[in-house]
């Protein structure tokens, strides 16, 4: 009893001492996040603030996919379809397409809901599928949604087909049009900055929900299903409902993100929702660390910013070698792919693996080793 108590006491003291530094860390982080668009504009230019906005959208997407793939272990290769559903819902309800101009606060929750329903629509027929088979069906689902959007201009024009929908209403909050530069006292806040703050709020909200889910009974059920579905049902877990919930929750994050994207961009077309986008979002969570929220965020940041940074390759070639030898666009994807391969070789569990995932990888190796040992024994 005694040593345990001592440990508890020292732990408490450490916490008290630490609380101050924790508060300071959070304050500093908050300050950085608040100033980030201005710092970015000063150092890198306005276009990079836009990239920052997209980074936040991708973080939301990656966290949504993380629920399906990272927590519940259901490999989804058509995730971008939910982003598309959210985006098109916003575009149809707030553009001249149907002459509707709903407020953003009505559309976004509806977008989350409709995307969630689509998630269940995808989940219900695939309940018995796992691994590769599930991946193939979800891949097909993503393509079906995109092709529908591409072709729903006849016989009735709903989505305007490949031309996409333009003149989408900008997001307005309390009479503030986020497409217009705003003035606050002496501060001039451009539109990209305004969107940054809006996206930041939603991202923080989604991070909060993710954390709460992870530590909940539902989160534990997801992990159990990921590990062994039969055993999970023997524990009293309703595997069907819990899997559908994972699809619905993940999809609703994508729906919100899609709605914000449509309002931000002002124009959407099926081209934005290709298989490649699904793969990129999947890469974000695999690279960052599946199942770990911080890892997923890191992955999203790296994979959004890195390809953009590589756009400068042309200028560097010009500068260093006198002329552009390789088209930066080709080189960009090449280096991007190489970086992914390297990181998978050296960080198979992701850059910031969840403690559980790291243990699992380690355990799998020792289980394998054990099995080999016993096989060896039998042979002898």
């Amino acid at each position: 009893m005694r040593p345990g108590l001592n440990k508890l006491q020292t732990g408490w003291h450490a916490l008290q001492r630490d609380r101050r530094s924790v508060v300071i860390t959070w304050l500093a982080l908050g300050l950085i996040l608040a100033c980030l668009p201005f710092l970015t504009e000063l150092s890198l230019g306005r276009s990079w603030v836009r990239i920052l906005d997209f980074t936040l959208l991708y973080i939301m997407l990656a966290l949504g996919l993380n629920i399906v793939v990272g927590y519940a272990g259901l490999l989804d290769l058509g995730y971008i379809a939910f982003y598309a559903v959210g985006a098109y819902l916003y575009a149809l309800l707030a553009s001249p397409q149907f002459g509707l101009h709903w407020p953003v606060w009505a559309i976004l929750p509806l977008g989350a809901l409709v995307a969630g329903v689509f998630g269940v629509l995808l989940g219900a027929p695939t309940l018995k599928l796992r691994g590769d088979y599930l991946a193939i069906v979800t891949l097909g689902f993503g393509e079906i949604v995109r092709i529908f959007l591409n072709n729903l201009n006849t016989p009735y024009n709903i989505t305007n087909g490949p031309q996409g929908i333009s003149q989408i209403d900008p997001i307005q909050i309390g009479g503030i049009d986020l497409h217009q530069t705003q003035h606050l006292l002496t501060l001039t806040i451009p539109s990209t900055h305004l969107y940054y703050y809006l996206f930041l709020i939603f991202t923080l909200l989604i991070i909060f929900v993710s954390i709460r889910l992870q530590d909940s009974r539902i989160g534990r059920a997801w992990i159990a299903i990921r590990e062994d579905e039969v055993a999970a049902s023997a524990m009293g877990i309703n595997t069907r409902n819990i899997k559908l919930l994972a699809f619905a929750m993940g999809a609703s994050f994508g729906g919100i993100s899609g709605g914000l994207f449509a309002g931000f961009q002002g124009f959407i077309s099926p081209e934005s929702f290709t298989l490649f986008e699904s793969i990129i979002v999947l890469c974000m969570i695999v690279l960052g660390g599946m199942g770990n929220i911080a890892g997923v965020i890191l992955g999203a940041i790296l994979l959004t910013i890195f390809p953009e940074a590589l756009r400068y390759l042309g200028e560097w070639q010009q500068l260093l070698l006198g002329r552009v030898w390789v088209d930066p666009n080709d080189l960009r994807l090449l280096i991007f792919g190489l970086a992914l391969v390297l990181s998978m070789i050296f960080h198979p569990a992701g850059l910031l693996p969840s403690t559980r995932r790291a243990r699992e990888l380690h355990a799998r190796r020792s289980i394998l080793a054990q099995e080999q040992d016993s096989l060896y024994e039998q042979q002898r």
Binding site: A224, A231, A232, M235, G236, I237, N238
Partner: protein, 235 residues
């Protein structure tokens, strides 16, 4: 009567593994179901746990029909299975496995107490709470499977081949523990290939052959039965 199984038929597609069996259990009994490989023992247990749905017949628990309930609903009704081949969560820790056993329970405090009780019952597990379950030895995994099933506070515990693939000394240990759990009042249905050990610790027994129950009665009597001795106890 706690559990009543009547005319139970279970099949895999066109193959009938269990062909009309009747089985009863009273509260607090330790009953074993023995038989050769492929006799239908595990299939019977899976049907009781809801992993397979019977094609015919009925299962009632405390006079309530549970025949059509899914496995997760049967856990709510108090049936827990320690499956064949253990079926533990190999990549989760021992503690996480045990906590998942208590998934349906809301009484966190009592769950924590039960956890301590499981560690007392299986001291080997208490030394390995943070260890990944897949790295445990076969016997320890079996202990974990039983402890995890107990964590749901079942009224009926189903054990499927707890001796499978274990060294004799470990088998002895597991069976001693099963007897201890039964002595605390747990109702246990034990499926076993090791007929001798199973009959020694059980009160009653059923003998299964080709999907049917061919013999049943008091375990001690079956142990002395020449027919049983020749078929299952090595003469």
């Amino acid at each position: 009567m706690m559990l009543r199984v009547a005319n139970l038929h279970v099949g895999y597609g066109s193959i009938n593994a269990v062909r009309g069996i009747d089985l009863q259990m009273n509260q607090g009994e330790l009953v074993c179901l023995i038989g050769a490989n492929g006799a239908g023992k595990t299939t019977t247990l899976k049907a009781l746990a809801g992993m397979l749905l019977p094609t015919q017949g009925s299962i009632t628990l405390w006079d309530q029909p549970i025949t059509t309930l899914a496995s997760h609903q049967r856990v709510q009704h108090g049936i827990a299975l320690a499956p064949e081949g253990r079926g533990i969560f190999a990549r989760l820790s021992v503690r996480e496995n045990l906590l998942l056993g208590a998934y349906l329970r809301d009484d966190h405090h009592a769950v924590e107490l039960d956890l301590q009780q499981m560690y007392a019952l299986f001291p080997r597990l208490s030394e390995r709470t943070r260890q990944i379950a897949g790295t445990l030895s076969g016997g320890e995994q079996q202990m974990l499977a039983i402890a995890r099933a107990l964590m749901s506070r079942p009224s009926l515990l189903l054990l499927d081949e707890p001796s499978m693939g274990l060294a004799p000394i470990m088998v002895q240990k597991i069976f001693t523990t099963i007897r201890a759990i039964a002595a605390q009042g747990m109702t246990i249905l034990l499926v076993e290939q090791n007929a001798k050990l199973a009959l020694q610790i059980s009160q009653r027994a059923y003998v299964m052959e080709n999907g049917r129950i061919t013999l049943s009665g008091v375990a001690a009597a079956l142990l002395a039965n020449p027919q049983v001795q020749q078929a299952y106890l090595g003469g």
